[in-house]
């Protein structure tokens, strides 16, 4: 609709147009647009979500639903590295809780929090499709398998 001046991240305009052009229905571009924004700003700012809704001519709530549903999207600012620990059934049975406790102890943060140096943000997530090598977690794009509290110490050192 005309007359909506959506707040979109500067510099992404062009890429947005390219993405939208690939879809028959504009609204189909929602997920890729969200990925693009997160790649660009690290998280999805509320005003930008509203901007995207205006841009795609869909209700704002549709965008918020998607953005909050996927744990891979951050709706708040996060640290440089995002840790997602799977707490679904297979991982849970394989002592995910101990792994998670270890991370919390080392980083001194709880779920949803960011370390004071801004290095890590910690979340739990549901199944990430690595049940055969449970327990598993992701740090940014990388997945780690068959975790133990000992392994955690080493992994975190890498960042």
């Amino acid at each position: 609709m005309a007359n909506i001046a959506p707040k979109l991240p500067d510099g992404l305009k062009k890429e947005f147009e390219q993405i939208v052009a690939q879809y028959e229905f504009k609204r189909g571009a929602l997920l890729p647009l969200l990925h693009k924004v997160q790649e660009h700003s690290g998280y999805l700012e509320q005003d930008i979500l509203v901007g995207i809704a205006g841009y795609l001519n869909i209700p704002q709530v549709d965008v918020f639903e998607i953005a909050t549903f996927y744990t891979l999207f951050n709706t708040r600012p996060v640290g440089n590295n995002v840790i997602l620990v799977c707490d679904s059934i297979s991982c849970y049975l394989k002592d995910e809780e101990k792994v998670f406790a270890q991370i919390k102890r080392i980083l001194q943060i709880g779920s949803g929090e960011t370390t004071s140096d801004g290095k890590f943000t910690l979340f739990t997530t549901s199944c990430i499709g690595a049940c055969d090598r449970a327990p598993a977690m992701m740090v940014n794009d990388k997945t780690f398998f068959k975790l133990t509290p000992e392994k955690i110490t080493d992994i975190l050192k890498e960042y």
């Binding site: 609709m1 869909i58 209700p59 704002q60 709530v61």
Partner: protein
């Protein structure tokens, strides 16, 4: 067995029903009970709650009855120990985080979860662990959201998205954290219709306006009709001890299919306002004195008699609003005509759709929407012009939105404003304000030029095509683009879309009628229907959007100076004889004065007494000064209303009337559906139903009106008014009937066939656009209109807590560019000045309008925008038109 049927067995009972139905449909058809929670009729099948699990022989697992298609030969069991256990577990899981608050929950006794727990004997939570804390949102006066109680059935989300097409709610997060959420924790685009409340099965969404007023078993429910707009929604008035405590509705009922808007659902408390008039008042030495009915009626009879003796019957006049029942309206004009002997009787229809009446009577011989509202959903192409439909006739607006989103209709919106409905348009034309006629003629020009007209229909079913063809010759794309500012390409697109569709309807509002060429505008729209063959059959019609609950009815009842009930012309001899015989008196043979003429006559001293019923004329009339001067000049003024309005304050006698919730009778909605209105409670103090008051005055004047109940008036109307022939309380039932009825059709005609029109034909009318001179001293164009949260001139809606909470005062809406230029920021006080007057009002900056246009809502008693508006009469219909007024804007410093 026919191809599109399937048969199956449920608990040993054979059912056959349409293919595509679910097991649940089949069970419901045979009244086999299957518990459900997330299922709701007409919403998409959701299958989320798993309460409706059933066993199907040959299937490995239990399946959800609400989503599983019924197939041939299926054998279904709905009661087995396993199913019972599953259902119990589902409820126990729901109770994990559901507080057992039933004692104090507003939904106690009316809660689906409570019923399920009771039926399945679930006593509490078996699992003993608590999930997370959920928020309670109590920030809003209307709706409290308590997500601890939410069972995530998603009905609210679906109804808001699929039915209302608003999309204010959604599911946020996932897993245990899932909540019903909204952007920024605010209901950004919520329209406060409360539909989500009405579908919520539990106490997660509570209407705070009515919370804790009553337990479900303490209230009585009276089905009736909404008192606001012309959609005529059916609703329940829930009352306890003579107080309205709530308005509710039920899926499927009435013209509204159980939907209501914010006004209908939450705007009822004016009924219980302390400011209601409770006793007759007589003005003595400029102040009102309470008197008894007998004294008031005697005083009025003397007052009218004196004027008539001195100056003749033509020196009195009556004007009625559009909020009273047909029965009151009918008696009102009967009183003026038969008891006082004058045709000087008019209604506020003069201010909204008089042009529709004159154009439609001229071209078709009927005055009213030709088709029903529900048909809009099935129409292939809808042309919507001059209406903010989603604000002023919400349910009609919903049907248009549903037509587009759920049924794939094409929508053409013609309006300079950026409106909520514009978002749904396939083509949106934004003509310069006031140039609609040129635009419609332009569309017709294209249709003819490209040969898109329905020539067969034109030849067979219409008259006057040749003259009409001449008249649109000059409306070439270039010419029309120049006048309207709409690019030729868009014009072509719209013309092709509408002409090319199999079925199409035209829907228009007061943007079309409130114009000095209002009648011509409507005629042009009728031409468009005729040229494209989109009239006289199902899903092809023309809809004037009437503004008030009985706008259609008050005109049908002959509260018009030129027509008796049912549009029998006053100067038609046979018609006059018919009514003279029916009423047992001689009737005046000249047509009476139109409302604007009444005001003129009063100022000139030719009119000396007036009787005004149910209208705050001072606010409703587009030029306030006219009314002030006219009413001041009268010798005698009687005003009958529910509040001491500004108009009532000017009266010599004020009569306290019943509100819609206290009066019985009928309203006729904008689709010609005559519907029963039923009193739920009794009026406050001495107030009485309008019809009783009129009968009282008439009796005091010596013209006997003897009715025991409004029902008897309904019957008299059914006997005398041709259009209402055969309508009486039995025929009306609960859903009402579409006029006219005929012998073999007792529910009336939802749509007109060509044979229902005068001589079975549609008449083309040649109409020509006249441009208006620009005025550089007043560079802005002022548009007035209604907003979602209020109605009419605000007499009822301004006196409700809920609607005022949403929007308490008026404003002037200015485009950001103009605001910049004038150095205005939101909230600045500005003066809006026209050649006629000025008002001071706060500025609201918004980009719905183009630069050069400002908007002031006409819905607020304390913002008399009619001090500024300037009237230009539409010659054909005597409409005092004032949609557009040239103004200038000044910042008040």
């Amino acid at each position: 067995m026919s191809d599109n049927l399937v048969s199956l067995t449920i608990d040993g009972i054979k059912v056959s029903l349409e293919k595509g139905s679910t097991i649940l449909d089949a069970a419901q058809k045979k009244k086999v009970y299957i518990p459900t929670l997330c299922h709701y009729p007409e919403l998409t099948r959701f299958g989320a709650c798993r309460l409706c699990l059933v066993e199907v022989e040959g299937f490995r697992k239990l399946v959800a009855a609400c989503t599983t298609p019924a197939t041939e030969g299926m054998v279904v069991h709905t009661v087995t120990p396993e199913i019972n256990d599953m259902r119990k577990t589902v409820v126990e899981l729901l109770l994990l985080h559901h507080p057992l608050d039933c004692l104090t929950c507003d939904r106690g006794g009316d809660c689906e979860l409570q019923k399920l727990a009771f039926t399945l004997r679930v006593t509490g939570d078996r699992f003993g662990f608590k999930t997370e804390e959920y928020p309670v949102d109590d920030t809003n006066l209307f709706i409290q959201r308590n997500f601890k109680k939410c069972v995530l059935c998603g009905r609210c989300v679906r109804v808001c998205d699929e039915t209302r097409n608003v999309g204010a709610l959604g599911f946020y997060e996932r897993g245990f954290s899932t909540v019903i959420g909204y952007p920024y924790n605010k209901l950004v685009n919520c329209e406060y219709c409360g539909q989500c409340l009405s579908v919520c099965p539990v106490g997660a969404l509570i209407c705070k306006l009515s919370a804790y007023e009553a337990r479900p078993w303490q209230v009585e429910k009276q089905r009736s009709i909404c008192a606001y707009c012309g959609c005529g929604c059916s609703l329940y008035l829930e009352h306890k001890k003579n107080n309205l405590v709530k308005v509710s509705s039920e899926y499927g009922m009435g013209a509204n299919n159980g939907l209501l808007c914010v006004k209908g659902r939450f705007g009822y408390d004016f009924v219980g306002s302390e400011k209601r008039l409770t006793s007759p008042l007589i003005k003595v030495n400029n102040s009102f004195k309470q008197v008894g009915w007998a004294q008031a009626l005697g005083y009025i009879a003397d007052g009218f008699k004196k004027v008539i003796e001195n100056k003749g019957a033509q020196s009195v006049a009556g004007a009625a609003g559009a909020r009273c029942t047909n029965e009151a309206d009918y008696l009102f004009q009967k009183f003026m005509r038969a008891a006082l002997g004058t045709n000087n009787v008019d209604s506020s229809v003069r201010l909204e759709h008089a042009p529709s009446i004159s154009a439609m009577l001229g071209a078709l011989g009927v005055a009213g929407a030709t088709n029903s509202l529900a048909e809009l959903k099935q129409t292939d192409a809808i042309l919507l012009i001059g209406s903010n439909i989603t604000a002023s006739q919400v349910i009609a607006g919903i049907y248009v939105k549903q037509a587009v989103r759920q049924y794939g209709a094409k929508l053409i919106v013609i309006d300079p404003r950026s409106l909520e409905i514009s978002r749904f348009a396939d083509v949106w034309l934004r003509p310069e304000p006031g140039t609609d006629l040129a635009l419609i003629n332009g569309l017709l020009h294209i249709i003819i030029k490209e040969g898109l007209q329905d020539q067969e229909f034109i030849d067979k079913d219409t008259i006057g095509f040749a003259d009409f063809l001449q008249s649109i010759k000059e409306y070439t794309q270039q010419q029309v683009e120049k006048i309207t500012g709409v690019p030729a390409g868009q014009l072509e697109q719209a013309a092709r879309l509408f002409a090319g569709a199999k079925t199409g309807s035209i829907v228009y509002g007061m943007g079309i009628t409130q114009h000095s060429q209002g009648t011509d505008n409507v005629s042009a729209l009728i031409n468009l229907s005729l040229a494209t063959g989109k009239l006289g059959r199902k899903n092809c019609g023309i809809y004037p959007l009437r503004t008030t609950c009985n706008s259609q009815g008050v005109a049908d009842m002959g509260v018009l100076p030129d027509y008796y009930p049912g549009y029998t012309a006053c100067d038609d001899m046979d018609g006059r004889r018919h009514f003279a015989r029916g009423w047992g008196v001689d009737l005046p043979d000249k047509k009476g004065l139109y409302l604007p003429q009444m005001l003129e006559a009063a100022k000139e001293g030719k009119l000396s007494a007036m009787y005004i019923m149910g209208e705050n004329l001072l606010s409703a009339y587009p030029e306030r000064k006219q009314v002030e001067e006219a009413l001041c000049a009268l010798d005698f003024l009687v005003v009958q209303d529910i509040f001491l309005t500004e108009t009532a304050k000017m009266a010599d006698v004020v009569l306290p009337a019943a509100s819609f919730a206290e009066e019985s009778g009928t309203f006729t909605n904008l689709e010609r559906r005559v519907q029963p209105v039923k009193a739920a409670i009794s009026p406050p103090g001495e107030a009485k139903p309008d019809w009783e008051i009129i009968a009282g005055i008439s009796n005091a004047c010596g013209f006997v009106m003897d009715y025991a109940a409004s029902r008897e008036i309904t019957e008299e109307i059914g006997r005398l008014a041709p259009l209402y022939k055969g309508i009486n309380s039995e025929v009306l039932g609960t859903d009402g009937v579409f006029w006219p009825l005929d012998d073999n059709n007792k529910t009336g005609k939802p749509y007109f066939s060509m044979s229902d029109f005068y001589e079975g034909k549609g008449r083309f009318t040649a109409v020509d656009y006249q441009s208006e001179a620009e005025n550089s001293e007043y560079p802005f164009m002022l548009i007035t209109g209604g907003i979602l949260f209020h109605h009419g001139s605000g007499a009822m809606s301004n006196r409700t807590k809920g609607l005022n909470y949403l929007n308490a005062t008026g404003y002037v809406e200015i485009n950001p560019e103009d605001a910049d230029r004038l150095g205005l920021v939101e909230g600045d006080l500005v003066e809006v000045v026209s050649a006629g007057g000025k008002i001071e009002v706060k500025a609201k900056i918004a980009d719905r309008y183009r630069s050069g246009i400002v908007f002031v809502p006409g819905n607020f008693i304390d913002l008399p925008v009619n001090k500024v508006m300037q009237v230009k009469a539409d010659g054909a219909s005597h409409m005092p038109a004032a949609k557009l007024t040239p103004v200038k804007i000044r910042k008040v410093t």
